[in-house]
């Protein structure tokens, strides 16, 4: 019943079903009722990881290696446990930046570098080719098997046929056309493919069901359960060895490396990145996928070992390829229905991989390889072309066909040299090269574009040499000498034993060296190379701080020429209708009437760039938007801002210090100003003093001169008259001398240069002496002088002559102002608390309160100096005040107008006992 037409019809009908599911899912998505927005579809779409490699290859691997197929699924299980930490971060970043592919993601992270995006694309396309060839081989192999049924099921490849009749070529062609119809019908600005995801989820179910069906058939149909299969296998020494595969320690290292590589592959393979990150509808779906997807992998691997042992037991010794056991066991038992189901399961596994992988790769080729080059080379021609969406789709279609044809080419060149799993591992090792740049860029802000470029280039080069080259060489396309003896016979350069490293497993060997070079260059260049530019650091911060608040706030653009120019750029790539729709929606979200009334500000430019990025990739979008927008002044990443703040706080500290200094300076200045004012005041006082002194000196001089002239000019002057005039001259001269003495005395006192004697004195003696000295004066004026004193008066410490000077001054002042004949002056020496006081009371006219304040100043004389001739120098009281002050006492006056005045001074008493009165 199975025949070419049935198999072909079943295959086409199945592809048609997929197409219908995709179409329905797209329609539901357009209607806003997404079919795929649940964690189950998300988990099933992740299962695109299980390809023909899993479906056919795992059994083949198990047949030669026991559990050697398992690390490929243990690794992703481990990685899924980290999904919440790693992929959730990626999803956030991808959504915020409208990332369209793995290359776009890495390029965006490192400063939207078109060079890096292009490199990632090239590495991805070349690295994935073995993987695609594996699918082609599996599909065409299974198809050929069914064609030849019921003849021999030995899968030795038939003689070479022209490629047009080669099943693998036809499969590649059909898959290419199918993928084009499937994935490039329209250009989606979001670059999400809900239809594709729905179809892939369905395929995941189909391949699981098919594999479980054949597993149950082998385990429970052909044998009597797991224990039976293993027991029979254990009976054969060759098979028993497969149950304890870890013979030597080195195998554990192989296992660990393969696990690590698979951990990287589950996020780094372009199609896995596509379904896990780009196609994710809601990051909440991650939580359930953390266990659902590993459960899926456990289920699809559950029967691998029984099938492998069943096949080995059943076909033991024949040439049946273990990679085909899944299909050849049902065929050998003529279970045609099951065989057809298995064929469709394998087809599901292979087509799912090819569809998602080529769509993801074509997006990368278009956005990160072709567009940047085209935009750079022919920017001006492009502006005139209208149908950009059509061009973009054409580029992608071309890329899909090209990739599949290259996959076929690899299949022709190297397809037969390796089993399915070994072929796939070559691609895994290539995909793992993205790991450092991709994962490092998520957490390490210091990773630079140069580091990523160096790491990826180095790792890829090592991969080419240690992984791809041996695979191609082994197929006879290069000199096999190369593998056996190294290039030019240099042993230590042997691709499979670089530097003589004795590692048997080619995957471990390639991973070891490529990762050392990749991680080493990535970290080394990032750390030791030139620091990243500000724009690059801004992108790094956007990625690493995606869960923080800073990611959204850094403006990249200043603004655009006009809203129309921006819309025109968008229209060129998305179509005018879609562009207008987007702008209107944006305007609506801003509460603006229409796109026309929008401001061409930084936010609008950012919005337009994101929309464009969704269609043509971040690097190209930036190039295009830059034609109509101005870049903002270099945005500062947060850590630079922090540096600046650090510096600023230092500056603030300095300025605080400076402020303090300034305050001190101001205080000092104020002090200086006060001192200066005081100096100026003193200067003025000195000037006043000098002018006053000059004036006081001139008065007696004028008298002396006038009388001298009279005597000189009148020789015949009467003797009496002459005598009187000479007396006046003498008197004025004495006055002048006294004045000069007093000025000198005052100057001495004020400058502190006066000679002071210091002895214990009894003030009563001084008072009595002074009274004696002035008694003639008192008598001549007819003024009475009374002297009164306490019985016990303590001594004071002072200069006798100086104190006498004070007493004489006070007494002569008193007598000066007393009325003639009726005058009365009373002197009293008394002991008060700790001091000795002397009061000199007169019954003169008294001193008004305002005069009392100033009479101790220099040259202040009470009375109208214009009408009354001054009776003294005006310095006496000043000198007295100075003298009393010098000995720690005080001098003051109490007076009332018309009731006389009392001049008093007090000096501190010495501790010695008061002396008794000696004489009055």
């Amino acid at each position: 019943m199975l025949g070419p037409s049935v198999v072909a019809a079943a295959a086409l009908a199945y592809l048609g079903l997929l197409f219908a599911v995709a179409w329905y899912a797209d329609r539901r998505a357009a209607a806003g009722r997404s079919l795929i927005a649940n964690p189950y579809i998300y988990s099933l779409s992740l299962a695109v990881y299980a390809t023909a490699w899993t479906f056919y290859g795992s059994v083949g691997r198990a047949a030669s290696d026991g559990v050697g197929f398992l690390p490929i699924y243990v690794g992703p299980t481990l990685m899924l446990l980290l999904w919440w930490f790693v992929v959730r971060r990626m999803i956030r970043i991808a959504k915020a930046n409208r990332i369209t592919s793995l290359a776009d993601f890495i390029a965006s992270r490192y400063g939207k570098s078109a060079l890096l995006g292009g490199l990632v694309t090239v590495v991805a396309v070349i690295g994935i080719l073995p993987y695609i060839s594996l699918q082609l081989k599996a599909i065409s192999g299974s198809f050929d098997l069914l064609m030849r049924y019921p003849e021999a099921v030995v899968s030795a490849r038939p003689a070479p046929v022209p490629f047009l009749q080669d099943t693998a070529f036809q499969v590649a062609l059909v898959l290419g056309l199918f993928t084009i119809a499937f994935g490039t019908r329209k250009l989606d600005a979001a670059e999400r493919h809900e239809g594709m995801v729905a179809a892939v989820a369905l395929e995941s179910l189909v391949k699981l069901v098919a594999f479980l069906a054949v597993g149950v058939f082998v385990t429970y149909g052909m044998y009597d359960g797991f224990a039976d299969v293993f027991a029979r296998a254990a009976a054969q020494p060759g098979l028993r060895a497969l149950m304890t595969p870890f013979g030597s320690g080195e195998r554990y290292a192989d296992w660990a490396w393969m696990t690590a590589m698979s951990m990287l592959a589950i996020v780094c393979l372009p199609r896995q990145f596509q379904v896990a990150v780009i196609e994710n509808v809601d990051e909440k779906h991650i939580a359930r996928a953390v266990w659902l997807f590993p459960l899926y992998m456990l289920l699809i691997n559950l029967f691998v070992l029984p099938i492998a042992f069943g096949g080995l037991l059943h076909f033991g010794g024949t040439q049946v390829d273990a990679d085909t056991f899944v299909l050849t066991l049902p065929l050998a038992h003529h279970r045609e229905g099951l065989a057809l189901l298995v064929f469709l399961g394998g087809l599901s596994a292979a087509t799912g991989m090819v569809i998602v992988e080529t769509i993801a790769l074509s997006t990368m080729v278009c956005n990160d390889l072709v567009m940047p080059v085209l935009l750079r080379l022919t920017r001006y021609n492009f502006r005139e072309r209208e149908d950009f969406p059509g061009l973009l789709l054409d580029i992608r279609r071309g890329a899909i066909i090209t990739i599949l044809m290259l996959g076929y080419l690899y299949f022709v060149m190297a397809g037969d040299a390796f089993a399915l799993v070994s072929t796939g591992l070559i691609s895994f090792a290539a995909a793992a090269q993205f790991g450092p740049a991709l994962l490092g860029g998520l957490y390490w802000k210091g990773a630079t574009r140069a580091g990523a470029l160096a790491g990826l280039t180095g790792g890829f080069a090592v991969w080419l040499y240690t992984s791809l080259l041996p695979a191609v060489a082994k197929s006879g396309w290069a000199a096999t000498d190369l593998l056996a003896r190294g290039p030019w016979g240099i042993e230590w350069l042997k691709p499979t034993q670089l530097f003589g490293l004795p590692v048997a497993d080619p995957t471990t060997h390639a991973m070891l060296w490529s990762m050392i070079v990749n991680v080493g260059a990535y970290v080394g260049v990032s750390v030791f190379g030139r620091a990243a530019s500000a724009g690059e650091q801004a992108q790094a911060a956007r990625f690493v701080d995606v869960f923080g608040e800073t990611a959204e706030t850094l403006p990249l653009w200043r603004g655009a020429k006009s809203v129309e120019s921006l819309q025109a750029v968008l229209a060129r790539f998305l179509g005018p209708a879609r562009a207008a729709e987007l702008f209107d929606a944006y305007a609506a979200s801003r509460g603006v009437a229409g796109a026309a009334s929008l401001a061409a500000d930084a936010e609008l430019v950012h919005f337009a760039e994101l929309q464009l990025a969704g269609a043509i990739g971040a690097a190209s979008a930036r190039t295009m938007v830059a034609t109509v927008a101005q870049e903002a002044p270099q945005p500062l990443p947060i850590d630079q801002v922090m540096t600046i703040i650090d510096e600023a706080s230092q500056v603030i500290a300095y300025s605080h210090e400076l402020e303090g200094k300034q305050r001190e300076l101001e205080a000092a200045t104020a002090g200086l100003r006060a001192a200066n004012e005081r100096l100026q005041e003193l200067d003025r006082l000195k000037d006043d003093f000098i002018s006053t002194v000059t004036h006081e000196l001139r008065t007696p001089l004028t008298s002396i001169r006038a009388f001298s002239e009279i005597l000189h000019d009148n020789p015949g002057l009467a003797e009496a008259e002459r005598h009187r005039f000479l007396g006046l001259v003498i008197k004025e001269s004495e006055r002048l001398t006294r004045l000069i003495n007093q000025v000198l005395d005052l100057a001495k006192l004020e400058s502190g240069l006066a000679d002071w004697a210091s002895e214990e004195l009894d003030l009563r003696e001084i008072a009595a002496e002074a009274a004696n000295a002035t008694s003639a004066l008192f008598r001549s004026k007819g003024v009475a002088l009374e002297l009164a004193q306490d019985e016990r008066v303590p001594a004071v410490l002072a200069d006798r002559d100086r104190l006498m000077q004070v007493m004489l001054n006070l007494l002569s002042n008193a007598v000066k102002f007393c009325p003639d004949e009726r005058g009365r002056v009373a002197v009293r020496v008394s002991a008060r608390a700790g001091e000795v006081r002397v009061d000199v009371r007169d019954n003169g006219p008294g001193i008004s309160p305002e005069h009392q304040k100033v009479i101790f100043d220099k040259f202040r004389q009470v009375g109208d100096t214009l009408t009354q001739k001054p009776a003294g120098s005006g310095l006496g009281l000043t000198i007295c005040s100075q003298i009393i002050g010098h000995f720690g006492g005080r001098l003051w006056v109490q007076s009332e107008r018309g009731r006389g005045s009392v001049f008093s001074f007090a000096l501190p008493a010495t501790a010695t006992a008061p002396r008794a009165v000696e004489a009055a």
Partner: protein, 64 residues
């Protein structure tokens, strides 16, 4: 229980799984012998795998 604690537990499960699926635990179970007729290494790997999945399912229940 805060989400960070749940996330930390999930990360611990990852570390535990790393241990389960590598040397030396792998070597402990890679000898001859069988459990219920299943070679001990196979039984161990699948049982450990299932346990990790079950624990993960428990831990992520209210993560999102």
């Amino acid at each position: 229980m805060p989400a960070s604690v749940r996330a930390a537990r999930l990360f611990c499960l990852f570390l535990a799984a790393l241990l389960l699926f590598n040397y030396p635990l792998l070597a402990v179970f890679s000898g001859p012998g069988s459990v219920l007729g299943i070679p001990v290494l196979y039984a161990y790997l699948f049982a450990a795998w299932l346990a990790v999945i079950a624990l993960a399912a428990l831990l992520v229940r209210r993560l999102a």
